[in-house]
């Protein structure tokens, strides 16, 4: 049953979604394509729309995938799956050990977890680059996409443009060029 499947999948993802939403992109992508809910390219569009929506990107992506797969109830079970693990963990921490983040064992876990999260996000960028022809056979199409990609990175880092603005600008470039 697809609703139960969505719920379990996002419950699993919700339990390990450390380090900001972007780290969960490859996890959601892998689950979504393994279940046959979406292709990687369709999922890139999910990230685009999730990035344009207010709120956390991983939760937004889960809601979007849920809606596209099984309508409103799909969106609801996916959102619940994402937040229930956090809720339970927070209730336990708030009730028993408030200084959780200062525990030595938690700090040692994050020493390795942070680079793993970096690796996950890098991997997400690579996979998306390949499926969307940003990296691929040399052609003017690929080069122009690479320029858009490179400029987006530059605009975020040096010009400190807002991601939404970058997305809109890239959309306009797309309409003009392709």
């Amino acid at each position: 049953m697809v609703l139960l499947d969505l719920f379990w999948t996002f419950l699993l993802i919700g339990s390990v979604s450390f380090g900001g939403g972007y780290a969960m992109i490859p996890v959601i992508e892998m689950e979504v394509s393994q279940h046959g809910w979406m292709t990687t390219q369709e999922f890139t569009d999910v990230i685009a729309v999730a990035g344009m929506s207010p709120g956390p990107i991983a939760t937004n992506s889960a809601i979007f995938v849920g809606y596209q797969t099984a309508g409103l109830s799909g969106a609801m079970v996916s959102a619940l799956g994402m937040v229930i693990p956090s809720l339970l963990i927070i209730l336990v921490i708030a009730a028993f050990f408030f200084k959780f983040n200062e525990l030595y064992i938690v700090k040692s876990a994050f020493y390795g977890l942070r680079p793993i999260i970096t690796g996950l996000i890098l991997y997400a960028a690579l996979t998306f680059a390949i499926t969307n022809n940003v990296i691929g056979e040399l052609s003017w199409h690929t080069v122009s996409l690479l320029i858009i990609c490179g400029f987006s990175f530059f605009a975020l880092m040096k010009l400190r443009l807002h991601p939404i603005f970058v997305i809109v600008l890239a959309g306009v470039c797309g309409i003009v060029l392709y």
Binding site: G55, V83, K107, G112, N132, S152, L156, I175
Partner: protein, 194 residues
């Protein structure tokens, strides 16, 4: 602790109105939430906020939703946590569902199709920038650099499930820190540690 209905409703409304005004990831919601619960409502002290944020960041899930859940618990226990979490999530949920419906309608439009060719390339840049930002705080010695390279390679070449990498990675990390300490190495657990 007051747990009457009016108080719970007030918690709900305070968190509910934070959602729709913030774009660009959960972090954008934090200053607005802070203003609401610290300055306007006087529910939480400024010094407690940074502690709540630190914890919200170290448990799984979106930082904005986690912070709201935590503050909700502080205000009215388990029920408060559930109410604050639902309230902060609900507007986002409705907006994303609305955008999903809109997207289904317009995705076959030729202009939208070409716009998305450009947008997909920008998304790659945006994700790469996210990696760069977290990389600056995450990678600062040989061990952290190796962990990053190994996990990227495992994902890319062996198709190992990311959840497995995260879970095994947490165990490995605790072990590595222990072994390094035993061998007498000094180890900085955070970039800014002395």
């Amino acid at each position: 602790m007051k747990t009457n209905r009016k108080y719970l409703l007030q918690i709900f409304l305070s968190f509910f109105k934070i959602g729709p005004v913030t774009f660009g990831g959960g972090y954008a919601m934090i200053p607005i939430m802070e203003k609401e619960v610290v300055e306007k409502r006087n529910w939480i002290d400024t010094k407690d906020i940074s502690e709540i944020l630190a914890i919200a960041q170290s448990v799984p899930g979106a930082i904005a939703i986690n912070s709201a859940t935590f503050i909700g618990y502080r205000l009215a226990g388990t029920l408060g946590a559930i109410i604050a979490m639902t309230a902060v999530l609900l507007p986002t949920f409705l907006i994303v569902v609305a955008l999903s419906i809109l997207f289904i309608f317009v995705q076959d439009n030729p202009y939208v199709e070409s716009a998305f060719v450009g947008i997909r390339a920008a998304i790659v840049g945006i994700i790469a920038f996210a990696a760069y930002k977290i990389g600056i705080t995450a990678i600062y010695d040989k061990t952290t650099l190796s962990i990053m390279i190994i996990s990227t390679a495992l994902l890319f070449f062996l198709d190992i499930h990311p959840v497995l990498i995260i879970i095994v990675g947490i165990g490995m990390s605790i072990l590595i820190v222990k072994v390094k300490r035993l061998l007498g190495y000094t180890i900085k657990l955070e970039r800014n540690d002395k």
